[in-house]
């Protein structure tokens, strides 16, 4: 029990630290002299609330699949979370797990067994009860090899889950998931996972309706077929256009769900997304659906939100190629990058400079010193590698997928390396599919990459450096690093665990297979009358907590009067 609570409390602290710098919502924070005209200048576009209780937002790219067990990616996951509810739900600000379908849970002192107690009277939208058996079936479905769930590894903390998923274990009863009765779910883990309860918020862990899936197969998610257990149910879907959800009557907490309807549009184009927002056709752009060149301008408006995101932009170095196999060369490249200049001049502070692989504060985790700009040291490292003053350095290329933003950054780094190290690098861009092929098969020298963490723990980033991990894609392999991550996984003491992970990150930064450049930020627009959407580190939001403040415009002058009276 102790580790869980400690973890949750620390996550709260971390999230509060993150929240610093985000906007104030609501008229209460408005300056006393606010009046209608000023209101228009403070917000980007139309700020009058809609007459109905329908929340409209841009969900971004069209979801590939919105079956929770199979979904991958932010837009897909968001659609799943609107309809389904897991054992726990994320706190709207801190993301700390709040009771969802489970009303309480406890863990054994060794941190290896978790028992979840479901609420009484939970129901699917067709009226059938939601049971612990539904969760067990849903999780085993994700792990069953025939399901081919791309995110199955999210369940690997569970005992024997990995072996069952990759086919080495055929007997599903040996997987650590058990439902002794309809309202109790017992999960046995393979190693202590302090963030396990938090993971149950994730969409791969959502329950799915067995009867419906067995009846309709891959067509079960269609409106008309689909049955869900969350705050909203799907009534309409038009591909590449929109999803319509209505409030579910069978949801256990329906009394506290304040929206009647949710419409999620699939608008890919960033400019179009902002146009729709300005006109008031959507109330929220979601992060990423604002063109990056608009951000410096939008920062003056109160309905623009900016915050830290759990993602890192980095350069990946192919260590199987000469001269990049030499760690001194990688150190030289690392020290020659002026991250502050990139963040200030090139990115206009829309992203923050970052010299670590793990992008945000974590409970109990102290980041090792990040990489800094040090031209003298960079030249020393290069000389030590056998290329004094860059002499004899072979030509290498920076690979990026076709995009103006990536090109500009690559050009800046190319210039820095030329100026500091006197070496020439080429730029090479490829379209997405070719770029993926080149990075996965190690047909590149240095490549632009990015990584978004799935859960608030350093391992979601540090896992990239493990030998032969499918996401490593550098050829880098270090037995000491692997041993550190292994030791951390087996460590029951959270303090020692974080210390071991810190050593691992320090080693990773020193060895330099990955060169972090900046960490991602949340940038979105939310109408001032929408309540309950704050930037969160994982960009997840439970729409259960969202509502439309219809009194928003009327409230504003009232605040002004109160302020005047006070003077």
């Amino acid at each position: 029990m102790m580790p869980v609570r400690a973890w949750a409390r620390a996550a709260l602290l971390a999230a509060v630290a993150l929240g610093a710098g985000c906007r104030n919502t609501g008229p209460a924070a408005a300056p006393p002299a606010a009046h209608t005209a000023a209101l228009e200048r403070r917000y980007f576009g139309d700020s009058s609330p809609p007459s109905d209780n329908t929340f409209r937002f841009n969900n971004g790219a069209e979801p590939e699949i919105y079956d929770p067990g199979l979904a991958v990616g932010q837009p897909d996951g968001r659609v799943c979370r609107i309809m389904f509810e897991g054992l726990t739900v994320p706190d709207p600000v801190t993301l700390a797990p709040l009771p969802g379908q489970a009303e309480r849970w406890e863990s054994t002192p060794d941190g290896l067994t978790y028992t979840f107690h479901l609420r009484r009277g939970l129901a699917w939208t067709d009226g059938a009860p939601v049971t612990a058996g539904d969760f067990a079936w849903s999780w085993l479905r994700v792990l069953r090899p025939a399901t081919a769930a791309r995110y199955a590894s999210m369940l690997y903390p569970i005992a024997n889950a990995e072996a069952y998923n990759n086919g080495t274990l055929a007997d599903s009863t040996q997987v650590g998931i058990r439902a002794p009765d309809d309202s109790t779910l017992v999960v046995r883990l393979s190693h202590p996972t302090p963030y396990f309860v938090f993971m149950t918020e994730f969409y791969t862990y959502l329950p799915v309706p067995r009867r419906v899936i067995e009846r309709y197969g891959s067509q079960w998610t269609r409106p008309g077929n689909i049955v869900s257990n969350g705050p909203f149910s799907l009534v309409e879907w038009r591909q590449a256009d929109h999803f319509t959800f209505v409030k579910s009557r069978t949801y256990w907490d329906a009394a506290n769900v304040r929206l009647d309807k949710v419409i999620a549009y699939s608008v890919e184009d960033l400019n179009t997304s902002v146009n729709l927002y300005k006109a008031g056709a959507i109330h929220w752009t979601t992060s990423g659906y604002v063109p990056s060149q608009f951000i410096p301008y939008l920062m003056q408006f109160e309905d623009f939100q900016h915050g830290r995101y759990h993602g890192v932009y980095f350069y990946s170095v192919n260590v199987t190629r000469k001269p990049l196999d030499n760690p001194w060369v990688r150190r030289a490249l690392n020290y020659a990058i002026d991250r502050d200049a990139i963040a200030n001049d090139l990115l206009k502070r829309t992203r923050d400079p970052w010299g670590n692989m793990t992008p945000i504060p974590y409970a109990g985790y102290e980041h090792p010193p990040g990489l800094t700009y040090d031209p003298v040291r960079a030249r020393e490292c290069l000389a030590r590698a056998g290329f004094p003053d860059g002499r004899g350095f072979p030509k290498v290329a920076i690979l990026f997928n076709t995009s103006e933003d990536h090109r500009r950054l690559a050009e800046a780094i190319q210039a820095m390396w030329k100026q500091v190290l006197h070496i020439d690098v080429e730029l090479s861009n490829q379209e997405w599919g070719s770029y993926l092929e080149a990075t996965t098969t190690l047909h590149y020298d240095i490549a632009r990459r990015s990584w978004i963490g799935d859960y608030l723990d350093p391992t979601t980033f540090l896992g990239l450096g493990v030998s032969n991990d499918g996401n490593n894609r550098t050829g880098w392999s270090n037995p000491r690093y692997d041993a550190l991550l292994h030791a951390a996984a087996a460590e029951p003491d959270p303090v020692k665990r974080m210390r071991t992970l810190r050593d691992a990150e320090a080693l990773l930064l020193d060895e330099g297979p990955f060169i972090p450049v900046y960490h991602y930020t949340i940038n979105d627009l939310v109408k001032p009358y929408v309540r309950g959407i704050q930037p969160t580190a994982l960009d997840t939001h439970d729409l259960k907590f969202v509502w439309i403040d219809h009194g928003f415009r009327r409230n504003a002058p009232a605040v002004a009067t109160a302020g005047n009276q006070g003077q």
Binding site: E64, R150, N166, Q239, E268, D269, L276, N471
Partner: protein, 305 residues
């Protein structure tokens, strides 16, 4: 006439087969694959997916199965959207593109042809210069400039129309205007050229000599032949405009077929690319055939045999 049509339709078969074969192999030759992602897919899952889609079979077996299914217009499920059949995606997106395209073409004809006629009849006058100047501007301004400009002016400043999304009649206005402009300009220029050519011919002089009013000469006699270049242009143009425009669909968030084709190519969605390409090819050939038939109606000198 009937034999002509029959022969042309029979020619569709080898043409479509060649296109199907080329697309099938070309899309597979492109680097990457449908199951390659920024985030690694576990080997077991990837093998299972390949098996589900028959990608673990030899290429020849895949090809024969593809041809056998294609004959029945069954291209299988999309790789990117596994819960949807390619056929279904086309059936849902095509009517949207069709509606947008038909409105744009109608507008282009209704505006373009009269402008072209006026310019030809008043050749070398201020009206001609103005019309052709407009046409030049229309051809020169790309969609991705015109679209956002219209949004800024008519939607975000004057609040006349919604800035995007395909819902309700008023949402059609801006995408149709944007898509039509290029065609208006092109059709005006073609009409003008065609009319100038025809107005110099003997039968027009005869008509004038008989004392027919100029209006009747132009509208009744000359126009029929003068628009022939427009008609031949309409074949490929309609196929193109109706199959959807990537740029217009993106700017206005229109759920049409154009976006699907381009995205499918980037995603290496083998089945969706092949399905849409074949659909497009069939459409283009049908339209060219219709144009040839229309020619015989408009120009009595042409005979199909």
């Amino acid at each position: 006439m009937t034999t002509f049509i029959l022969r042309r339709v029979l020619l569709f078969v080898p043409t479509l087969w060649a296109i199907a074969t080329l697309t099938f192999f070309m899309v597979r030759l492109a680097p990457g694959g449908p199951f390659l992602a920024e985030r690694d897919i576990p080997a077991a899952a990837r093998a299972q997916l390949a098996h589900t889609y028959g990608l673990d079979q030899p290429l020849t077996a895949q090809y024969t199965r593809f041809l056998a299914n294609a004959v029945r217009l069954d291209f299988g499920p999309s790789y990117k959207f596994p819960a949807r059949q390619v056929r279904e995606i086309i059936a849902e997106a095509f009517p949207v593109s069709l509606e947008l395209g038909v409105w744009a073409l109608l507008l282009a004809l209704l505006v373009g042809v009269p402008i072209g006629v006026i310019a030809a009849v008043r050749q070398n006058t201020a009206a001609d210069t103005a019309a052709m100047g407009l046409a030049l501007a229309g051809v020169s301004i790309p969609n991705y400039v015109l679209g956002p400009t219209l949004v800024l002016g008519l939607s975000l400043s004057l609040f006349l129309f919604p800035p995007a999304l395909w819902q309700g009649p008023e949402s059609r206005v801006l995408p149709v205007l944007t898509l039509a402009t290029t065609y208006v300009a092109y059709i005006a220029r073609l009409t003008r050229a065609g009319m100038l050519e025809v107005l110099r011919q003997d039968f027009v002089r005869t008509a004038r000599a008989k004392g027919l009013a100029e209006r009747a000469v132009v509208m009744k006699h000359a126009l029929k032949l003068g628009v022939l270049p427009v008609v031949s242009y309409l074949g490929p143009a309609s196929a193109g405009v109706i199959m959807g425009s990537l740029v217009v669909e993106k700017i206005f968030a229109v759920p049409g077929l154009g976006r699907h084709l381009v995205n499918a190519a980037f995603n290496r969605d083998y089945t969706l690319v092949t399905g849409i390409v074949l659909f497009y090819a069939g459409f283009l050939m049908t339209f060219n055939l219709l144009v040839d038939i229309a020619y015989t109606r408009l120009d009595p000198r042409i005979e199909l045999s």
